[in-house]
């Protein structure tokens, strides 16, 4: 049947205005504010990069920066890799998928703060896991148990990010792992593709349109989320998000400029990382011949 081609009318476009106004308006205003506040000098109206120079020159700034970048990158990498491997497995071996999905949804609903509290209760040197291992005589009590949370290597934060963002990435990509992807994978297998090359050449390109934004979003949270660093971090180095929030809430209002400067640094980092990621994955975008977006809806 020939279907009427529709033009989107002006009236329909009006429907976009409220959401764009609320979300776009507030977040773009937030961006502008951050920029404006960070380039105005402390205590004067002059515009300049003085605040940036001060903040970037503070002792320990770069230690905090590299630490934040490292935990965000490792957390995101683990989460994405895990989501891809698990998603591919589910695509080829769908058993147990429903139960696991329910669990993942549950995890997604648990706020970051609570997840961090649970990790501490489980993994701290006097936490439940340590109690079990020392009961079983596997280590010599508190001192023998490895420091997994509030540790200087950020293991706790990385674990938190990996375990909390994996469900997010996986559930986001799930709608793209329907019948068509499954068929392509089966086809690939008959052509002799092993697990690794199936993932590399079929699965990843199929889920890329969602995987890449989801990865960026999870990286942005890893870098700019307050809760994991606050609950699972150490005093040295602290994540930039924790420092920024402390400065923003300081009674000394000039500290707000510094807080915004840190926010701008974080935003720039996310932007840079996104550009790098998009450049690295360009082949997937151009390679995609058929969109899988609407598959599996009406067989």
């Amino acid at each position: 049947m020939k279907r009427d081609r529709r033009r989107t009318s002006g009236r329909e476009l009006l429907g976009l205005v409220p959401v764009l106004l609320v979300v776009g308006g507030l977040s773009i205003a937030a961006l502008v504010d951050a920029l404006a506040s960070s380039i105005s000098a402390e205590g004067s109206d002059a515009v300049g990069l003085a605040v940036f120079r001060t903040v970037l020159g503070l002792p320990g700034f770069w230690a905090s920066f590299w630490f934040s970048l490292y935990v965000a990158l490792s957390g995101t990498l683990l989460a994405t890799a895990g989501a891809v491997v698990l998603g591919h497995r589910w695509c080829t071996r769908p058993r147990g998928r429903r139960t696991a999905q329910t669990l993942l949804h549950f995890n997604l609903g648990v706020p970051h703060l609570v997840w961090a509290v649970a990790l501490v209760a489980l993994l701290s040197p006097s936490g439940w896991l340590s109690r079990v291992t020392s009961l079983l005589g596997l280590d010599s009590g508190i001192d023998g148990f490895p420091v997994l949370v509030n540790d200087p290597y950020g293991i706790g934060i990385v674990l938190h990010l990996a375990s909390k963002e994996l469900p997010f990435v996986l559930l986001a990509t799930l709608p793209l792992t329907g019948v068509a992807t499954r068929r392509s994978l089966a086809q690939g297998a008959t052509l002799g593709a092993g697990t690794a090359s199936q993932i590399r050449h079929i699965y990843l390109p199929a889920i890329a349109p969602v995987l890449i934004p989801a990865t960026i979003a999870s990286f942005a949270f890893g870098l700019g989320g307050y809760e994991p660093g606050a609950a699972l971090g150490v005093q040295r180095p602290r994540t930039l998000a924790v420092v920024a929030l402390e400065w923003f809430r300081s009674p000394d209002l000039t500290m707000r400029h510094r807080a915004f400067a840190v926010a701008v640094v974080l935003m720039a980092t996310v932007a840079l990382a996104s550009v790098v990621l998009l450049a690295m994955t360009r082949s997937w975008w151009t390679m995609r011949a058929t969109p899988h977006r609407r598959e599996g809806v009406r067989a």
Partner: protein, 423 residues
């Protein structure tokens, strides 16, 4: 059937929306008032009747929260016709910011009626001229306060004037576990603490000084007092004095950190974390500021029942907690009635009893209380301090006032720079 179900759903939804509306507007339901004069106390009482007092206070201690709601709330309601709205905040800075924001917005009906406030936050609001003046010493119960004592009339070295009314007191103490540590082995000075820590590597730590972690700051200040040999000189701010002693302070703390929990690579960020480490046997001491020592912590299930507080022989910093009324408060009369009630001997007696869970000390000078019933209440309370409390005479002997406010930031930022070497 269909209709009844729908009617029921509609009713339930309506009731829920009403509850929502209530919760959304409860913060703003107060009458406009100008500043009453506390010398005409009857006028204050009649103006306060029917008001809601929005009391902003740190909400991190559930026992304090419960005490405030259960002890002051009913009396305010039944005796004075005042509704108590306790507004819990994560840090007093939030209340300060609220007052500043109301002022910037030229809002004459500010949200904050009374703040539990101290030190730096007090001087911020005081310097901005945003606090109500001329009321604290005119409260009826203010006669029980020892205003001549410098620990009372100076808040972190800042003149309290007539801007703040005391509420309670606190003193820095360490807590140990009698089941684990022998009382004769306890360190009794910072110097001995260093020896103890290095004899028991990894068994001591303290709270990282910083916003919301004033106990850690206080620990460091105590060290500064001992090293410099004279606590009283820190009552006035003197940059040169700080520059003279700071290097020795950092040197001491570096030495301590080499023997500390996890070699000082990190420190607990707040009281709760240190309590957890102590309770689970990761370290051997925790910190408290309560008059009842460890008793309140025991009652809350934070530490083992065998925990007990103790003080060093000298330089145990104590201070008073104050309440202040912002100049733009909407319910000033009710705020005054509450501030006066806080000083009532029966309330003061109630707050030190461990069973009540509040755990802070007197704001009044008990010696000034002569009325027999009140006298008896105070005596009974003193007798019930519990097994977790430190020896009161040792505490009194070691008590010193806190340093002037500007040192707070020097200690906190200096500690972060020197000990942590980071942001």
């Amino acid at each position: 059937m269909q209709i009844t179900r729908r009617t029921f759903a509609t009713l339930a939804l309506g009731a829920f929306l009403a509850a929502c509306a209530e919760s959304a507007s409860s913060a703003d339901r107060s009458a406009v008032s100008s500043g009453p004069v506390p010398s005409d106390w009857d006028a204050v009482l009649s103006e306060a009747r029917g008001q809601t007092v929005n009391w902003y206070l740190w909400g991190g201690s559930e026992s304090i929260n419960r005490f405030v709601d259960d002890t002051y709330g009913p009396v305010l309601r039944d005796r004075y016709g005042i509704t108590l709205n306790r507004v819990p905040i994560a840090d007093t800075v939030d209340a300060v910011n609220q007052v500043l924001a109301d002022d910037q917005a030229n809002n004459p009906r500010g949200a904050v009626d009374l703040i539990w406030i101290n030190g730096e936050n007090f001087s911020t609001l005081r310097d901005a001229g945003l606090l109500l003046d001329g009321w604290a010493r005119a409260l009826p119960n203010a006669s029980l306060v020892d205003w001549a004592n410098t620990a009372v009339n100076r808040d972190f070295g800042v003149e309290v004037g007539d801007l703040e009314s005391p509420w309670s007191s606190a003193q820095f103490q360490l807590v140990y576990d009698t089941a684990r540590t022998n009382v004769d082995e306890l360190p009794r000075s910072y110097a001995q603490l260093l020896d103890w820590a290095c004899a028991h590597p990894g068994r001591f730590t303290y709270i990282a000084p910083g916003p919301g972690a004033f106990q850690g700051t206080r620990f460091v200040k105590g060290a500064l007092f001992e090293i410099s040999g004279d606590a009283s000189q820190w009552q006035q701010f003197d940059q040169a004095l700080w520059d003279r002693w700071a290097p020795e302070l950092w040197e001491y703390l570096h030495g301590l950190s080499a023997c500390a929990w996890r070699n000082g690579e990190t420190y607990p960020k707040d009281e709760a974390e240190l309590h957890r480490l102590f309770a689970n046997g990761e370290v051997d001491f925790t910190i408290t500021q309560a008059a009842v020592g460890a008793s309140a912590l025991i009652a809350d299930g934070l530490v083992p029942t065998t925990a007990k507080a103790f003080v060093f022989d000298h330089n145990s910093i104590g201070d008073f907690n104050y309440v202040a009324i912002p100049g733009n408060a909407s319910n000033k009369a009710a705020a005054m009635v509450l501030a006066n009630l806080l000083l009532d001997p029966s309330m003061q007696a109630a707050q030190i009893v461990p069973a009540n869970g509040f755990g802070l000390g007197y704001a009044i000078d008990p010696a000034q209380v002569t009325e027999p019933a009140a006298r008896r209440a105070l005596d009974e309370a003193a007798a019930a301090l519990g097994s977790g409390a430190a020896d009161p005479s040792e505490m009194a002997a070691a008590l010193v006032g806190d340093a002037a406010a500007p040192y707070q930031d020097l200690v906190e930022s200096g500690w972060r720079r020197e000990l942590v070497g980071g942001l």
